[in-house]
Symmetry: C2
Subunit: 438 residues, 2 copies
């Protein structure tokens, strides 16, 4: 008895976050955090939910692109997909005509990711398991079959990937229990947006430490004297034991990044995130060589596993960041985790936005149980906003993401939120349209 | 008196080329060559035409993306743009919200390119000059202001860019006359599509040599024994003086490319094009080091100048290919030409498709007059199809592109062609729809 996917719907959901400069940084000055939100439904009534996170304009294009891929979705049998989700993922990311528009990057890649993530969600719901638990019970062969090894075999063979997973199997139950008891470490970005004034940042940093966070991140890159003053303020407020990170959101040329970071070095940032173009592997390596102890992090705008392969294998970065919505879904993210594990680099996922925290908690937990086998320096980004729009929002307590227990991938939105914030027709937007130029 | 842009229209135009496997290769198995075709119009009646080349499904998404950028187009003053087209280009490629969907890659980047190219077309028409002549009369400062040096300054400073152009100024008129007399060398791909049988390839190769072509390119990568047989056939047919190139269209893993090309080496290909993922700078360098005399070429899928910077500066490739529609238009392409000139690498543009030959003839001529100052090994790809749909099609005679003389960028389509092939409503498509899954 087949169980074909018979419906694919998309909704353009946007939140007017630019009103208060939440999310503002040196490059993304006025984001309206948005979700191209998709729902799959099978003939037997299984449902799966997925989303692409965007920052406003263009969210409609993401919806249209998902719809343009409906020939790869409608009529597919859910049970067949579960038998070979790696194969299904391959179809999604390599349609013979749509591929031209990437290839494997930008909107078409994000759309493929949202669809396969919705399938993972549906699978979790069908088995009554959160997605991180679904993958944590796979055997190594089945697990590696989910990962996308195309174009990375010169650096990571299938046998190497298998060996990485196999070494973890005997001890995985211990790590599952650890996550259920302690959660996974988080760091907060809610304190340090570029648009916030000094007093607000001081207050938020104090509150973050009181809430149990050991890491705080600050946006930098607009003005070096402002950055120095803010970092000094934060160090005065929270002391030297808190781990500080700084994020330039691609503001600098390569040489400029080196000069700027040398001036921020006295405040001991752990890493500088996105110092320059996210496509510049060799530029990041040069920056890393030029700034001494400070680590280099990037990845939230890294387009695919092939670019990650080069960043990781050439030692161009120290800390690997991933975005749950930029890569082609969980399947490609597994590849990045496997590459990072081979080269001993920590993965600290990008989150915030809308739905990203919900997604990435599963990803880091899968990494810990099945791939890296350790937490070490790893932390997941956390921003404390927009979670109220989800049915099963992530929960962060004492600086840690609690392990999700509800079935699925945690990004199902509340129907009322979708109705209120749908763009441009939702009640929250009707009075505003025109303002954003959207 | 301002002269604002008041209209931006898009048309989804597709040609059913998959019927005869024209354009078939190891990755692109069934292309329907298509154009997301755009028209700009000012209040005074100036018009400009641009297009994004795609291979079918997703062409509608490109149209929608151009429309989603209309807030960057409508109301802009054409004269202001001409005063600072570099600044206008920057606005197009870095909208603070849309940028998230690239950044600077994929559909949003292609859309920015189509718009700025339409502006260049409008400018050429307004001055009664083909675009290559428009840029050939600029002074070095004005010319370099058009190029996008963001994120490449660690490898190419503005002063270096200026010096490259300045050294050519005294002799440019001689090169303009050369182009008007002799045109620019072309090579043909019309002979070697993967879907063609041996007899057809033999016949087409013979005809190509008779038509004056000194270079012929063959698609490879599906089956190594087939590739060897076809290359032997071609060598038997046209002899050893014709320069043969082979194109794998991303078919291989890195190590596989090295092994495969060692088997094709006896037939003396000049270069192997797209041996693996177009994002794999380090992979290409490894391939280059592994295949001896055979050159490595890539670029038709290279997403932006930042990736090109790395391919060129790290000596990962020998021959730089550009696509007129993948980069963000002429402004970003100038950067690639400048980078290639600094490192002494020939640029051989990708063409074929629909409209690409029309576009790239201008680009190579600008490079010759203003940047590289030489032709040397450079050749422009040529495919002999679909030119009949353009008002001012490119003309190739005796293996050379004749210098365009009509005003503009040569991609204005015939209104009848647009009407006949508009998808899905045009007369040529009404009977077919459903077949392509589009």
């Amino acid at each position: 008895m087949p169980n074909k996917i018979v419906r694919l719907t998309t909704r353009d959901v946007r939140f007017p976050t630019s009103d208060h400069l939440d999310g503002s940084d040196a490059t993304n000055k006025d984001p309206d955090y948005s979700a191209a939100y998709i729902t799959l439904e099978t003939e037997k009534g299984d449902r799966g939910y997925g989303l692409i996170f965007t920052i406003g304009r263009g969210n409609d294009i993401c919806c249209k692109t998902v719809e343009a891929m409906s020939h790869l979705v409608i009529g597919k049998d859910f049970d067949d997909i579960r038998t070979d989700i790696g194969g299904y993922y391959n179809e999604l990311r390599s349609d013979s005509q749509i591929r031209w528009l990437g290839p494997e990057k930008g909107i078409v890649h994000m759309a493929a990711g949202a669809i396969v993530n919705a399938v993972w969600d549906m699978w979790g719901r069908a088995e009554g398991k959160p997605v991180w638990r679904l993958l944590s019970k796979m055997d190594p062969e089945e697990f590696v079959n989910c990962a996308d090894l195309r174009y990375v075999e010169d650096v990571l063979t299938r046998d190497e990937a298998l060996a990485i997973v196999e070494r973890n199997i005997a001890t995985r139950d211990r790590r599952i229990r650890y996550l259920e008891d302690h959660g996974y470490p988080a760091y907060t970005i809610s304190a340090g947006w570029l648009g916030y004034d000094d007093e607000k940042i001081r207050r938020l940093c104090r509150e973050a430490v009181q809430q149990g966070f050991s890491h705080i991140k600050l946006k930098v890159g607009a003005n070096v004297d402002d950055d120095i003053r803010r970092l000094r303020n934060i160090r005065e407020t929270v002391g030297n034991d808190v781990i500080l990170m700084v994020d330039a959101n691609q503001a600098w040329e390569v040489n400029e990044a080196i000069e700027w970071m040398r001036r921020l070095a006295p405040y001991k940032p752990w890493f500088i995130e996105e110092p320059t173009s996210p496509d510049d592997i060799m530029g990041h390596r040069k920056i890393k060589e030029g700034i001494g102890e400070i680590r280099v992090a990037t990845g939230e705008h890294c387009a695919n596993r092939i670019l990650f392969k080069q960043f990781i294998a050439s030692d161009a970065i120290d800390v690997v960041q991933i975005d749950a919505c930029r890569l082609a879904g969980l399947n490609e993210i597994l590849t990045v985790f496997l590459l990072a594990a081979k080269f001993g680099k920590p993965v600290c996922p990008h989150a915030g936005g809308v739905g990203l925290c919900e997604y990435v908690q599963h990803l880091s937990m899968i990494d810990y149980v099945m791939i890296s086998g350790e937490i070490g320096e790893r932390v997941i980004e956390f921003a404390d906003h927009l979670h109220e729009h989800f049915e099963d929002p992530c929960v962060v307590r004492k600086g840690a993401y609690l392990a999700p227990t509800a079935p699925g991938f945690s990004v199902r939105m509340r129907e009322q939120s979708v109705a209120d914030y749908e763009y441009p027709g939702g009640s929250q937007w009707r009075a505003r349209v025109g303002r954003t130029g959207g």
